[in-house]
Amino acid sequence: MLHIKCPHCGLRSQNEFSYGGDGTVKRPDLNKEVSDKEWDTFVYLRKSPRGKHVELWHHISGCRQWIKVERDTATHEIFKTSKVNEDI
């Protein structure tokens, strides 16, 4: 079970969190022309790298904040975590 440092609450066990997928995806701005390809990429295409990856986790049984976690998908090593509005 991973040990994830919530930037709001401190070190907590994985079972307090829910996984939120790729943390690098950016939603295209509202009310703007978006090409089919751009939208398709945003909705469906996710990278699944082996190694370092920035992910979103939701501290669902804690402070209910979404956070960013930089994790190695192969070794599970967590390098850094940050608030979701901060750069990681």
């Binding site: 991973l2 040990h3 909705v43 939701h58 979404w66 967590i78 509005n85």
Partner: protein
């Protein structure tokens, strides 16, 4: 039966407490402190079970966790447990055990014929045979193999024992209380670290219990006892016996199973049978010791062939002789300790040593005691069927390839020692890159990935002195890192016998024209020839060889067989062992009972059950409940002999005619607050929200980014910056996470807060033409007229002094209201509604009637919003704003979503107006078309329309709009039904929606 193999003056069992137990129906005696294994051996019982594949007689091989054979079916306190290792099961009064894998009895086992059919049962036989004819597999081969193979029988009864989980944090977890574990625990504890010391056996001390050593002027065992006593007194130390750390997971999370009651006739009150500990340790010291490995020779599975260390343990701990004419077969010095121990107890062993002229302190001692020794000698084969009665031995050439003349030697047991294998399972599980140590012919931990350090013989250090020095040092060093303290303990003086180099010999060659089975893996009946065959057939990777031959699988996971298997593969392949590599070690190290893993999450605790505040009222009024997410909701209220159909029909009819009340507490509720709340809702929902006035509700649909409908519900503007959102029961948690995602990540500039209020409010829906009259009586102070409280209006008032929220919203399609009060007042509200509603012939209605009402009104719900449909499919076009952006809007332009023949929700009526259409039926043009019959759509929900008194269904149908009026067939092959139907509008009742606005 007398204990003829028990000695009087040796051992740690309690001679004052005799314990009676039964094995295969026969009564025996042992002592408190015995294991089932030691007590059986004391009674001369060596035939314990039959082997997995060949049904060969099997006895004991080890004395602990490494035991591959001696598993029994255990009976305790009216429960039964399969595959319990007799070497680990402590004896208790009234214990009963039976042999596994034999029929009709362990002495006469029909399955033993497999032993003679072995030509047909080579490695991977089940991949090769039983292939033809194909139809035989399910009916004949598989049931036969299932019956023939396998071990114990799982109880099918409910397990009444209690199992618990516990979470713990510590500075240092130490796994194993042998000399290295004790030393590092002591050093770390004295340096202020919070320590957990776990020992899987009942007695602490590990190898100190059986070795002849002294530490600081005490003998090894006394030193261990004193250290444990001192540790137990320290507040920063937790000491646990009967506790196996079986898994090393990510981020230094280890899991330990503590067997609190397995050694007792029954669990004490308030004490669980087992407790599973989830331990997050800052640092871990692995002191799991090592396991003796066998030397492979002919018939090396015969009962009476045991590990030399096990023979010593039976003697020194239990005072039990594994035999009275022992033959000791070794390639190293440690087995000499076993021989000396026999000799001290007036038993004359014979040592066969594979080495030519070994010299060491202990060998001289044995010589001086007059023990008979033969050097450059091997056991070629054990002889005897159900117990060893003699052995074939021979001189072996220096290159270990040729055997001399075979001699027979009388013996009743063969104690074998092929040197020691460090127990590296935990280190390997943690991600440690293990390395091969040439000197000891085994893998040892290498570079750590997590915060773990391995000490003692688990690290390949077999000298006690060196072990203690490094363990004290590591305990100090690691604790200093955590506590910043520097209390150092001086290492005590050690006296032990020095050993000389072992012989790297592990497998006795077969004599000419003999075809003895030489077992590598005892539990799975894997022989040397099986592995040779696998390699001949092209299996190269050790992982493949393992799976093809089953070497190292099953409940012991090859604790005694792994290394010899590797030696064999590497010698056939002419490779060195490290380049073959070992198979991956995965948790659990030893079997863990499912009960311990499940813990308290059983029965109704397997998921939390939520009940509305009115639940007990529903119960009292014969409600039949249904699971709705994690909630229990009344499905219908049973009257007399009614079934589901009659009751729900009655309830729905009463709503259409008079007034009904439904518990809607379970709907998800979310408070949305903040100056930007309107803008936020405008982006979340597909329709426009900026102009919703205070005191008004609106129906909204929210999409996922891919355009699929996520959820629907009404949201009410309570005040300027405060909205009350409702969601469906099942989606409540997902919707909250969804909203938080957008607020925190996508639009952090919006000043809005969301919080779940589902459990804060109890809700009752009052529906039916008489609901207004009832509402007026409940709230005499408010104007309930169509002008005072119009459709989608909202008011706050008092229900007999209790604050209440009143919404004029409707799911049933009738004139309806929803009243919310704080949860604590829910039951009060409900009883008042029922009491006052009596004069309007009120009846409570459940989810079944609720469904009927919404289906015939054509209101879409979960069965139409099924994660595959978009708003247009559901006739919600009017709710999709063209003017503004919202979550998922861009996806609605996708080609498939705007296709002309896109699926739509429609109504379906059977032509005979009698036959109900099963949900899930397919709609097709031609009922008799060639399969696969092209599917045009499916029935999503069915009901008995109370308005028209005939069946009515909703369906999602391709090009649905243009299909209205057409005739199709509803096919349900599972119920063998083919029903001619007509497609109609989904709004079957009150299509203009006049009632809700009346």
């Amino acid at each position: 039966m007398s204990e003829e193999f028990r000695l009087d003056k040796i051992g740690l069992v309690n001679r004052d407490k005799k314990i009676s137990f039964k094995f295969n129906g026969k009564k025996y005696f042992g002592y408190e402190g015995d294991t089932l294994a030691s007590a059986l051996i004391a009674n001369g019982v060596h035939l314990i079970g039959r082997s997995f594949k060949y049904h060969r007689p099997r006895g004991f091989f080890g004395a602990g966790v490494d035991e591959p054979y001696a598993m029994v079916q255990l009976y305790r306190n009216n429960e039964t447990e399969p595959n319990v290792r007799a070497t680990e099961q402590e004896l208790f009064e009234g214990l009963e055990a039976k042999s596994l894998n034999c029929w009709p009895s362990v002495n006469f086992d029909i399955g033993a014929i497999n032993n003679f059919l072995n030509k047909f049962l080579p490695a991977g036989f089940y991949y090769k045979t039983f292939m033809w004819p194909k139809s035989f597999w399910y009916k004949i081969y598989e049931p036969f193999i299932r019956k023939a193979a396998g071990f114990g029988v799982v109880s099918t009864k409910h397990d009444n024992e209690r199992y618990e989980h516990k979470y713990e944090y510590c500075d240092l977890l130490i796994t194993g209380s042998g000399p290295s574990g004790l030393a590092s625990a002591y050093a770390a504890a004295k340096n202020g670290a919070r320590v957990i010391l776990a020992e899987d056996k009942s007695r602490f001390g590990g190898s100190l219990l059986t070795s002849e050593v002294s530490i600081g002027n005490q003998n090894g065992k006394d030193w261990a006892d004193n250290i444990i006593a001192e540790l137990k007194e320290m507040p920063n130390v937790t000491v646990k016996n009967r506790a196996q750390v079986f898994g090393y997971y990510d981020h230094n999370m280890l899991v330990m199973s503590e067997r609190l009651s397995d050694h007792l006739p029954k669990s004490k009150k308030y004490t669980p049978k087992q407790r599973l500990w989830y331990i997050r340790a800052k640092e871990v010291i692995i002191s799991t010791g090592s396991i003796e490995r066998p030397i492979v020779f002919g018939n090396n599975d015969t009962p009476g062939v045991v590990l030399a260390s096990a023979a010593k343990e039976y003697l020194k701990v239990y005072g039990v002789l594994v035999g009275k004419k022992p033959l000791i077969f070794t390639n190293n010095d440690s087995a000499y300790e076993t021989a000396i121990e026999f000799k001290k107890n007036n038993i004359n062993p014979i040592i066969l040593d594979t080495r030519k002229n070994p010299e060491s302190e202990i060998i001289s001692e044995a010589k001086n005691m007059g023990i008979e020794m033969k050097f450059s000698y091997v056991v070629v084969a054990a002889k005897g069927y159900k117990k060893v009665n003699f052995a074939e031995i021979a001189n072996i050439s220096e290159d270990k390839k040729d055997l001399g003349k075979i001699e027979n030697i009388n013996c009743d047991c063969i104690c074998v020692s092929g040197f020691w294998t460090p127990t590296i399972h935990l280190a390997s599980q943690s991600g440690n890159k293990t390395k091969f140590n040439e000197e000891i012919d085994a893998f040892v931990p290498g570079k750590s990935k997590q915060n773990e350090t391995t000490v003692g013989s688990a690290n390949g250090i077999f000298s006690l002195e060196k072990t203690l020095i490094t363990a004290f040092e590591k305990g100090h060093e690691i604790s200093k890192k955590i506590t910043n303290k520097d209390n150092k303990i001086s290492v005590p003086q050690v006296s032990e016998k020095k050993f000389t180099q072992h012989d790297k010999f592990w497998c006795v060659p077969l004599p000419k024209e003999k075809n003895y089975k030489r077992f590598l893996d005892f539990q799975n009946d894997v022989t040397v020839s099986d592995v040779e065959l696998a390699i001949r057939e092209g299996y190269r990777s050790i992982e493949h060889v393992k799976r093809y031959t089953t070497l190292g699988m099953a409940t012991d996971q090859g604790k005694t067989s792994n290394l010899n298997g590797l030696q064999l593969v590497s010698s056939i392949e002419n490779k060195i062992v490290p380049s073959v590599g070992h198979t991956t070690f995965r948790p659990p190290y030893t079997p863990v009972s499912i009960g311990a893993i499940v813990g308290r999450e059983i029965g109704k605790h397997s998921k939390p059950t939520r009940k509305s505040p009115m639940h007990s009222w529903h119960e009292k009024h014969n409600a039949v409940f249904v699971d709705a997410g994690i909630w229990l909701r009344p499905r219908y209220y049973k009257k007399g002999n009614e079934g589901l159909f009659e009751a729900s029909k009655r309830e729905a009819e009463n709503v259409r005619k008079n007034v009904g009340v439904c518990d809607v507490t379970t709907l998800g509720k979310i408070d949305v607050k903040g100056p930007d709340a309107a803008e936020f809702l405008n982006r979340v929902y597909t329709n426009a929200w900026l102009k919703l006035p205070v005191g008004k509700a609106r129906y909204g649909v929210m999409l996922r980014e891919d355009g699929i409908v996520m959820d629907d519900g009404t949201t009410t503007r309570i005040s300027e910056h405060h909205y009350h959102m409702t969601t469906t029961t099942a989606q409540a948690a997902n919707v909250l996470s969804h909203l938080e995602y957008y607020l925190q990540i996508v639009w952090p500039e919006l000043n809005v807060n969301v919080v779940s209020t589902t459990e804060q409010w109890a809700g009752a829906a009052i529906a039916g033409p008489k609901s207004r009259n009832l509402l007026q009586k409940l709230f005499p102070d408010i104007n309930v007229s169509n002008e005072g409280l119009p459709f989608m209006g909202y008011l706050e008032s008092n229900l007999f002094g209790i604050p209440a929220r009143i919404f004029r919203i409707s799911f049933s399609g009738e004139l309806a209201y929803e009243v919310n009060v704080e949860s604590d007042n829910g039951n009060f509200m409900w009883e008042k509604i029922i009491e006052i509603g009596k004069e309007f012939a009120i009846q409570p209605y459940g989810t079944e009637a609720l469904s009927t009402l919404r289906i015939e009104m054509g209101h879409v719900a979960g069965s139409e919003l099924d994660g595959r449909t978009i708003p247009y499919d559901n006739g919600l076009d009017g709710l999709v704003s063209k003017k503004k952006d919202f979550i998922g809007k861009r996806s609605l332009n996708r080609k498939a979503f705007i296709a002309k023949d896109r699926q739509k929700v429609v109504g379906v009526v059977p032509l005979d107006k009698k036959t109900s259409i099963p949900e899930g039926s397919h709609l097709v043009k031609d009922a008799n078309a060639i399969l696969p019959n092209p599917k045009l759509g499916h029935i999503s929900a069915s009901c008995w329309s109370v308005e028209y008194n005939n069946p009515f269904s909703l369906a999602i149908l391709k090009d649905g709009k243009n299909m209205i009026g057409k005739k199709l067939f509803a096919l349900c092959p599972v119920k063998n039904k083919s029903i001619p139907v007509e497609i109609v509008s989904s709004h079957y009742v009150d299509p203009k929606g006049e009632r809700v606005r009346s």
